[in-house]
């Protein structure tokens, strides 16, 4: 499933420079170094962390997208950096667990 295919299923696009990127698996976490060490390439990464370092971690760990759960806000700085570094960021108003369950149902 492509990142852009999540739109309209409870996920909104906050930064979508590479919507055609394929999602392969999901990782959930907020400790950046932990995520860096454990997330797999092409994972969708669900987090509530919204500082600008999230973009660097997503870019370097090569995740397919970041999903900000729990309605966490996209800051201007985060949006700017994400677009500059070609990092997809989606938003979900639901809590992390519900977000993950919905995502699991979509990617199968």
């Amino acid at each position: 499933m492509k990142v852009k295919d999540l739109l309209g299923h409870g996920f909104e696009a906050l930064s979508l420079p590479d919507g055609d990127r394929e999602i392969d698996g999901v990782y959930i976490g907020d400790l950046l170094s932990w995520v860096m060490g454990r997330a797999q390439m092409d994972n969708a990464w669900i987090t509530i962390m919204n500082n600008v370092n999230v973009v660097a971690v997503a870019s370097l760990a090569d995740t397919s997208c970041v999903i900000l759960a729990e309605g966490v806000a996209m800051t201007d700085e985060l949006k700017e950096t994400a677009e500059a570094k070609d990092v997809n960021v989606l938003g979900s108003a639901d809590p992390i667990f519900e977000t993950a369950v919905r995502l699991a149902g979509l990617i199968g």
Partner: protein
């Protein structure tokens, strides 16, 4: 190694929000060289962790990335406080980062373990009060 490439970066110790710039640039450079995404990912992660460590603990430093036909070497050098107990620092979960660093999502005690995990070899040369040099290699 007359055909090796060297990329040099100064890592700014003051600017936490721009940390990762050197790693991001290396990722771009390696991509242009046509290296595989898996190799690029390993180098990028190892270097980013080192870069973050230099910002958190050592007020910055330098990063050199040497690309040869056989391996990629990353040399991170700082003049920070040094590592008092390397064995302890290598344990997952051990961290001396402050609460403000932790609030940004760092300080999980995964930096050095991640660097080791994603490289084929890692050497730490550290002198308390003088600084630390970490040399990592990813074989091609």
């Amino acid at each position: 190694m007359s055909d090796s490439l060297v990329f040099h970066f100064d890592v700014d110790g003051e600017n936490f929000t721009s940390a990762g710039q050197a790693s991001t640039q290396v990722k771009k450079n390696l991509r242009q060289l046509g290296l595989s995404p898996a190799i690029i990912r390993r180098v990028s992660i190892a270097m980013y962790e080192g870069e973050i460590n230099m910002v958190i603990h050592a007020d910055g430093g330098t990063a050199d990335v040497i690309v040869t036909e056989e391996y990629i070497e990353i040399v991170l050098a700082d003049q920070g406080p040094g590592i008092k107990n390397v064995e302890q620092a290598m344990q997952e979960g051990f961290s001396t980062a402050t609460d403000s660093i932790r609030s940004l999502g760092f300080g999980a005690g995964m930096g050095l373990p991640n660097m080791k995990r994603y490289t084929d070899s890692m050497q730490i040369d550290t002198v308390v009060g003088q600084g630390t040099t970490i040399t990592m290699r990813v074989d091609l």
